[in-house]
């Protein structure tokens, strides 16, 4: 089973500050790391190849220094990875990111399974996985908690839908987004780190992609534009809504209506 895991480099701390004037994240001096949710996807991939054979490759989109997360994945057991990087990709929103990734994945190789983490800790949209699947025309399942079996080219999965759990059979090739906290990701190996060779990390730029229309990428390929980034106002008021999801939703709706926010 050949697996590709989509990973992202995110700020190493959740305490990243926003410059109140420019609205830009203050990344100076902040260490980067692999998106914690991607670690679960990577661990699942490595466990699946231990069970069924095959390889685990990784792919990321970002500046050239995002190669660090590919190296981290190699230290955890991936055989290599690809960085999709080009200035033309800068400023991409969810849609443009998913499109660029799907273009990059087509170039990276043929895979039986593509795995994504649930969401990233910096963007937190949880949409990229499903959109990549759409662009690639692959079946997709989200919040996957376990892959239980492989039967006739189909993966038998357990996925979480908030207050219920579903068992699914998904035909490969497919794209799955894993849920959080589903396994204990293995630690990166210092022994492997010492032996990483430069050809284990490959680069794809705009020139390598099939779609050469620059308007489909980066800021111009984005359906949404960020007008302003600002730190949220601190509010210490707390209200806990109890009950079932439906009761909580009703409670929240009543609260928003009472405050004339809608």
């Amino acid at each position: 089973m050949n697996i590709l895991v989509c990973i992202k480099q995110v700020p190493g701390s959740s305490q990243v500050e926003v410059d109140p004037v420019t609205g830009v994240l203050k990344r100076d001096g902040v260490k980067s790391k692999m998106n914690p949710y991607d670690l679960y996807a990577l661990e699942l991939a490595l466990a699946l190849t231990e069970r069924y054979g095959g390889t685990v490759e990784t792919i990321t989109m970002g500046p050239p220094q995002a190669a660090a997360v590919i190296e981290e994945a190699i230290c955890m057991g991936a055989s290599g990875g690809t960085v999709i990087t080009d200035r033309k990709f800068a400023g991409a929103d969810v849609l443009a990111t998913a499109y660029t990734l799907s273009q990059g994945i087509k170039k990276a190789g043929n895979y039986d399974l593509i795995l994504c983490g649930k969401q990233t800790t910096d963007g937190d949209t949880a949409q990229v996985g499903a959109e990549v699947a759409e662009f690639l025309g692959l079946p997709n399942a989200a919040n996957v908690r376990a892959v239980n079996a492989l039967e006739d080219g189909k993966l038998i999965l357990t996925a979480s839908l908030d207050d219920l759990v579903v068992d699914l059979a998904v035909k490969m090739p497919c794209l799955l987004s894993t849920d959080g906290d589903i396994n204990s990701p293995r630690l990166p190996s210092y022994k492997v780190k010492r032996q990483i060779k430069s050809d284990m990390v490959r680069y794809i730029t705009f020139a390598d992609l099939d779609d050469q229309n620059a308007d489909h990428y980066g800021l111009s390929g984005s359906a949404t534009q960020v007008e302003r980034i600002f730190p949220p106002e601190k509010n210490t008021e707390k209200r806990v809504l109890a009950g079932s999801a439906a009761e909580q939703t009703d409670g929240l709706f009543a609260l928003i209506r009472d405050r004339k926010l809608i």
Binding site: G12, K31, P36, S184, R186, L187, Y190, K191
Partner: protein
């Protein structure tokens, strides 16, 4: 010799601290009869909850005049029975004195009341970009308790123990007088260090009501390394070699696979790696990535050279949590794995750690008993647990006595001491006396007599 408390005493105490802060009889939870050590229990006659130094002073004046024994208790997480009121009387609970009073950024100190929990102090320091280095495994212990046992913890290899971070103490003497010992000073050659006598005295000399603690700037980078070894022998023998490498990790912890599996079961979560027999967990900290990386590389290369299977990087918040939360749960996990257990907290010179652990393995085989261990391999302080499992009461008592005798004897032979950080309390008195002999114990008794001539504070403990 002590006065049996009467209703009048209860009324007098209520007049000092308020009706709701003096409990007696069935109103006192049975938890107050013991700490985390099994097998020794005694209910107090009165549980008194105090809120200020002045209240403690007034309570002590009364207890002194009436010759009522007083035992101080924090969170009750001790492991040697030090907070058990062996003679009844007053159990003075300090957990309501839990305020952080001052952060002095010029003198790098924090002033706290004794009931502040270690985890609260650690979080407060970090929020303000400081580190309070002592890091015992039991984070819900109070600072008062930590000072009273001179608790050590995991960062002792580089940073030392609680004693090294206490600048000054406000204490209440057994007769109620309030004294300040030490000061916000970095040096002190001013006579006998009374402050240092109080640290580690387990509530037998006076009552700590305020502490000025030293902080250090928070290191910007901290990375751990989890090093798996094919067998316990290779892992243990690696420790003195790491110590000789002249890089100073903040922690060098030894853990066997069995202990990790207990922690997995106890916490209900998988440890990132359990494929190997034994592990050493090291932490490096510093202010630049290059410096930390260089230290880490020296040790990782050395470990691989001497037989480590690999060296895993624990370099993010999530990874640290996965590994260190298991390490923090070892004590409770071993406890959950057996019917009853007792612990030996010896400290030996660092270069004898391997010798001592090998000895406990041989002892376990010889006595047909399970003796899991983990510990601060880098500072020579080991936590060794003798598990009862399905032994009958009499066989358990016999085996435990033999086990303890042999282990304390071996530790002494290797130049070690009875307790590294848990203290003597009630449980380890015999071993302390056996090792120290008459003169040192007589000196300690003399000190006790000077501080507390009526012996009303924590009777029956340490040298009592």
């Amino acid at each position: 010799m002590y006065k049996q408390m009467t209703q009048n005493d209860i009324l007098a105490l209520r007049a000092i601290v308020g009706e709701e802060n003096v409990l007696c009889g069935e109103a006192i939870s049975p938890d107050y009869a013991h700490d985390e050590l099994g097998g020794i229990e005694r209910m107090p006659d009165a549980l008194v909850r105090v809120h200020t130094t002045e209240e403690i002073s007034a309570v002590m004046k009364y207890a002194w005049a009436q010759t009522i024994p007083v035992t101080v208790r924090g969170s009750g997480t001790g492991l040697v029975g030090a907070a058990v009121p062996l003679e009844g009387g007053i159990l003075l609970e300090t957990t309501k004195m839990n305020r952080i009073l001052e952060l002095d950024r010029d003198n790098l100190t924090v002033t706290v009341q004794p009931g502040v929990l270690l985890m609260e102090l650690a979080a407060f320091a970090e929020e303000n970009d400081f580190l309070y280095p002592p890091d015992p495994g039991e984070k819900s212990a109070t600072i008062g308790g930590n000072i009273s046992t001179n608790a050590g913890g995991m960062r002792a290899v580089k940073y030392g123990v609680t004693r090294d971070y206490v600048r000054a103490l406000t204490v209440v003497m057994p007769d109620g007088e309030i004294l300040t010992l030490g000061g916000k000073v970095a040096k002190n050659s001013s006579g006998y260090s009374l402050k240092d006598l109080v640290i580690g005295s387990e509530g037998t000399l006076c009552i700590i009501t305020e502490a000025v603690l030293k902080l250090v700037p928070l290191p910007k980078i901290s990375v751990s390394l989890l090093v798996p070894f094919p067998d316990q022998k290779t892992a243990i023998e690696a420790v003195p070699q790491i110590a000789r490498a002249k890089v100073t990790p903040t922690a060098i912890e030894y853990m066997s696979r069995d202990t990790i599996l207990f922690a997995e079961e106890y916490l209900g979560r998988r440890f990132p790696d359990t494929r190997h027999d034994a592990y050493i967990l090291l932490t490096f900290d510093g202010n630049t990535e290059a410096q930390v990386e260089a230290d880490l590389q020296v040790v990782a290369d050395l470990c691989l050279e001497i037989g480590a299977v690999d060296a895993y990087l624990v370099d993010t918040e999530e990874r640290r949590k996965a590994v260190w939360s298991a390490r923090g749960a070892f004590l409770e996990a071993i406890k959950a794995s057996t019917t009853e257990m007792d612990e030996c907290d010896v400290v030996v010179p660092v270069n004898q750690v391997d010798e001592f652990i090998k000895f406990t393995h041989a002892l376990a085989e010889e006595l047909h008993i399970r003796i899991p261990s983990f510990g601060h391999a880098g500072d020579g302080n080991l936590h060794i647990y003798i598990c009862r499992d399905d032994l009958e009461q009499s066989a358990w008592e016999r085996t435990l006595a033999v086990c303890f005798d042999r282990m304390y004897q071996k530790a002494a032979e290797l130049g070690g001491l009875v307790s590294g950080e848990h203290g003597i309390g009630y449980a380890k008195k015999g071993y302390l006396h056996a090792q120290y002999g008459e003169r040192p114990i007589a000196l300690m008794r003399g000190i006790k007599d000077v501080f507390d001539p009526k012996h009303i504070l924590n009777p029956g403990k340490v040298i009592g």
